[in-house]
Symmetry: C2
Subunit: 383 residues, 2 copies
């Protein structure tokens, strides 16, 4: 709860205090731009109705009081009165120390290794997830936290994997179709369609924007081998950074290039780093795929050997069994990965028996939106 | 054509010379990883068959010769012989000075203003683009260069805009559907569905990944007003950088936040900068939308006033008529924008008459792939 407000810097800022000792300063221009009144924000859809150019460049706070726990401000020269809830201000406070080390992640992200994940795979049944928002929210929250979850109880029929995406969002159609077959072919257009083992990788790094989610579902699996495994790229990146900060810096500050031209009419190319950081140093994406990595031409000559050493070490860590969680998909099971974070791999398999998987892509915006909406509904119901 | 090769640094690098005076150094590990032979790359689909861990960490070049204009190398300890075409090495040379100023763009990008664009809008007819790859390639190349193009001759019927996307790629379905109606509504879930003017903006910055292309097609337009306009965000960003480098730095180094929760079951949020740079300083995306900009909480307190001043100046430049290209969509016309670069706006319109547009999203990966495949086909046919 707000306990005190002081106008400072001739009304260009205010200093707030909350019970419990929290303090925070806010700027007049920021408060005016983020006003919550119905002339500034549409009551119906929440969108801002004004532009920054509708606000005087010289805006200051003339009066500031706390009334019923809310902050009440008068802005000049507009002569506009606005109130802000205490909790809203606390949640949006920006008067804090910025993270000073690159590679950090937000509080919803939990990194994992084999030791912490192998025996506790996040799992939901399809029927329960489709019926119960709480089950669905738990499963989606696992994807948000771990970048990975398993679903079982799907029909063992072609296209059933789309039902998984229908639970939270929309399929990202690509040149591979709305979904694609993953089974051994003669003259494959992609090495995924062989019985070779595949090194842990993210899919389609040659695409920009990259598909941010992938679902792989099993319809039949009677081969020897062919297990699936997943590796937390954020955990591996942290391990690389801990032992080789300069290598981490090179992989995150130099773009890699990826390409795919395996089928007619398709020539996909991208230029993005293997380890992507936001401008504030937040770790936001991993791209790793030996099959589609193109010639690296954006690393300074003097750094290329160190870059390759870092890439090699990153690959070694990715192959380290301590990071690898392994399982064999059974018919009716699927798994989803955050394709900007969690790598997946396949063990080689024998020619006897059949292994028939299907894959599709989707995007995180829909998943996180659906999760946030369910969580919001639960909070409103609780209040 | 290659004219000379010298082994240097005990075989860890080679120095190449081409006729015409070009020179470039390459590392042994880079050359080995990028070998083009059929044990390293699949002859069928071009994918790399080996991982970096299949190559000895200590790899060096024992013999280097030029034969028939190709570079022939022997790698030790593998004892592996590989040849590289002269032109491939020249195209992938990385021994060069890196750009030292942020905000640069690649050679395919042409920035534009009203003066250079208003009278020469890139335009193709739908029937010709569908029939003639050269016409389609010209239109797609305009999108690549300018982030914007017009198409006419579409059927004036609902859903016709999907035909535009079918020419090059795939629709990105979202919570707004595969496509959506843009016409004035009572109780709109989005301000786009009113007759208000809309400040120039990119769409859906609250989505991550953002839709990288948008198509808006006109079925009916008999209102007064309601003109469309487009603004090259890359040109505006360059103008901002020229007059206020520190403002450009703040908008590109501090994430903004965007959100949309205008309809039930949807709570979209993102955290990305208004001006996005790649790790090598390349200007790669603009996000600008007053309606969905959320509270900015990732700017250091001490920089917030300067950040807001830069945001205001960016908005002023975006509204500067010198950057704005205006046209009125007629029935059967559509335009496409690179939604990571070109902002679009709408003038307010009267209540008399009807304005019925439809919009949809798609992605640049498919567009650029289709363009590259056509261009590749033309080059092969010419050889």
């Amino acid at each position: 709860m707000l306990t005190n407000v002081e106008i400072a810097e001739d009304g260009r800022t205010v200093e707030l205090s909350w019970s419990g000792g929290k303090r925070g300063r806010f700027h007049a221009i920021w408060l005016r731009d983020n006003a919550l009144d119905d002339k500034t924000r549409s009551p119906g859809n929440g969108q801002r109705l004004i532009t920054i150019l509708d606000i005087p460049a010289e805006t200051w706070i003339d009066q500031a009081t706390i009334e019923h726990g809310e902050l009440r401000l008068r802005f000049l020269p507009e002569g506009k009165d606005v109130t802000f809830p205490s909790a809203w201000l606390s949640a949006n406070s920006y008067d804090r120390q910025a993270p000073d080390t690159a590679g950090w992640t937000g509080e919803t992200i939990r990194r994992w290794t084999k030791a912490t994940m192998q025996d506790t795979l996040p799992l939901a049944g399809y029927a329960a997830a489709a019926r119960h928002p709480a089950v669905l929210a738990g499963w989606l929250a696992a994807v948000r936290s771990y970048g990975f979850a398993v679903m079982d109880g799907l029909p063992t029929e072609s296209g059933a994997l789309c039902k998984v995406v229908d639970l939270f969002g929309y399929i990202r159609e690509t040149n591979y179709g709305r979904w694609f077959e993953v089974r051994a072919e003669v003259n494959p257009s992609n090495l995924a369609y062989t019985n070779l083992g595949l090194q842990a990788h993210t899919d389609n790094p040659y695409r920009d924007p990259v598909p941010t989610l992938q679902v792989l579902a099993c319809i039949e699996n009677t081969v020897e081998g062919g297990e699936s495994s997943v590796v937390d790229g954020f955990a591996v990146a942290a391990a690389l950074q801990a032992e080789n900060p300069e290598g981490f810096r090179l992989l995150s500050s130099c773009p890699a290039r990826f390409e795919y031209a395996g089928s007619s009419g398709v020539r996909l190319q991208s230029k993005r780093p293997m380890i992507e950081l936001g401008p504030d140093g937040e770790l936001i994406a991993i791209r790793f795929n030996n099959r589609s990595l193109a010639a690296t031409t954006d690393v300074p000559f003097a750094d290329m050997e160190a870059y390759y050493a870092a890439y090699r070490r990153f690959a070694e860590l990715i192959e380290d069994p301590a990071f690898e969680v392994t399982f064999k998909l059974e018919p009716g099971q699927a798994f989803i990965v955050d394709n900007t974070r969690v790598m997946h791999a396949r063990k080689a398999f024998s020619g006897t028996g059949r292994r028939w998987l299907q894959g599709c892509y989707a995007d995180k915006d829909g998943l996180l939106s659906t999760l946030a909406a369910i969580e919001h509904g639960f909070r409103e119901a609780a209040e």
